[in-house]
């Protein structure tokens, strides 16, 4: 199979280029894209990419495969390969450090900005803050995010304004704490989001929903935040 990989080493290359590599796949076995990258790296040690758990939990190996973001470790080659060719590029919209490794700084900055931790100044009654099963269920579909950045880097609104638009991943996390009955900072959280960029740059393109490797729905969470902002303003 022909694999085209994005290569860029800022120390030696003047500009990025696509490197075509012929990879022989084992018969009757559908490899994951990460396995293919490992096969290439066996021959060419200079290829750089992030990976860790190799089972879709750590969120390290988010890459763009034949135009669609996803985790290389849980994406079967057969699912993305087109006309016998696999094209692997770094996540779009972020600065490339080397080959498939991107600088996630601005992505983490937006995550940090939404204060991704429980804020509650009331002393807990007893040993812990209890929640009813119904209240706990409100966090389902929100807490599972692994911060792989597949969604935010597939979002045009994030491409154009990564410094000001929180992005689908950050907003999903923001809603995770807005929806948490144990959190007391709802008003401050909403006040921080009520500007024309942070939430409202979402134009409902829904690339985030289509690429999320965990099957989450950031657009729905953004809709809930918008509803909360709206009822706060009226």
């Amino acid at each position: 199979m022909l694999v085209s990989v994005y290569r860029y080493n800022p120390e030696t290359d003047r500009e990025p280029y696509m490197q075509d590599v012929e990879v022989s796949l084992p018969e009757g076995k559908d490899l994951m894209v990460l396995d293919v990258l490992n096969l290439i790296k066996e021959k060419d040690q200079s290829l750089s990419y992030r990976r860790s758990c190799r089972e879709g939990v750590c969120g390290s190996d988010g890459v763009n495969m034949n135009g669609k973001n996803g985790l290389a470790c849980i994406t079967p080659v057969s699912e993305v390969v087109s006309r016998g060719k696999l094209v692997v590029r770094p996540l779009p919209g972020l600065p490339v450090v080397r080959d498939l490794v991107v600088d996630m700084g601005v992505f983490y900055k937006q995550y940090q900005r939404i204060k991704p931790y429980l804020q509650n100044s009331t002393p807990a009654g007893g040993r812990e803050r209890l929640q009813s099963p119904e209240d706990r269920a409100k966090l389902d579909g929100l807490y599972e995010c692994i911060l792989c950045a597949c969604c935010s880097t597939s979002c045009p609104s994030f491409w154009w304004n990564p410094e000001k638009f929180v992005g689908p991943s950050g907003l999903l996390q923001a809603y995770r704490f807005l929806a948490d009955t144990r959190d007391e900072a709802t008003e401050e959280r909403l006040a921080d989001l009520d500007d024309p960029f942070s939430v409202f740059r979402c134009r409902g393109i829904m690339n985030c929903v289509s690429v999320c490797p965990k099957g989450l729905n950031p657009t729905k969470a953004i809709g809930h935040i918008r509803d909360m902002l709206l009822s706060r303003a009226t």
Partner: protein, 116 residues
């Protein structure tokens, strides 16, 4: 980096609400005009037009629509400009010309509606 200085509302919710309400007004006006044209269609005379547009409710509705159009266009184009125009000077020049055009349209609209 983009700043909010040219955004009159400075609130995302306000922009969002204005955009939706102005869209409803524009849609309602379009429906009224299409129905009126369908009913009175064919050969329209100047007297017919003036008779229709001269009614107070049509003047008020039209003025409301002109204002809604200006607000709608401003928010929409401000959003497009802050997405795609990365050079501050270019963006300010573009938004400045948009603002002046919209202002001219509003004043011109008032003069057409109430000036005769």
């Amino acid at each position: 980096m983009v700043t909010n200085v040219l955004n009159y509302g400075r609130s995302g919710v306000a922009d969002w609400v204005v955009q939706r309400f102005s869209a409803l007004i524009l849609a309602a006006y379009t429906v009224v005009m299409v129905i009126w044209l369908a009913v009175n269609g064919g050969e329209l005379t100047f007297a017919q037009w003036q008779g229709f547009m001269g009614q107070t409710w049509v003047r008020i509705f039209t003025l409301l629509t002109v204002l809604a159009l200006a607000g709608h266009a401003w928010i929409g184009l401000w959003t497009v400009a802050t997405d795609y125009m990365k050079k501050g000077g270019v963006r300010v020049a573009f938004l400045g010309s948009v603002a002046i055009s919209l202002f001219v349209y509003v004043v011109w609209g008032i003069s057409i509606l109430w000036g005769f």
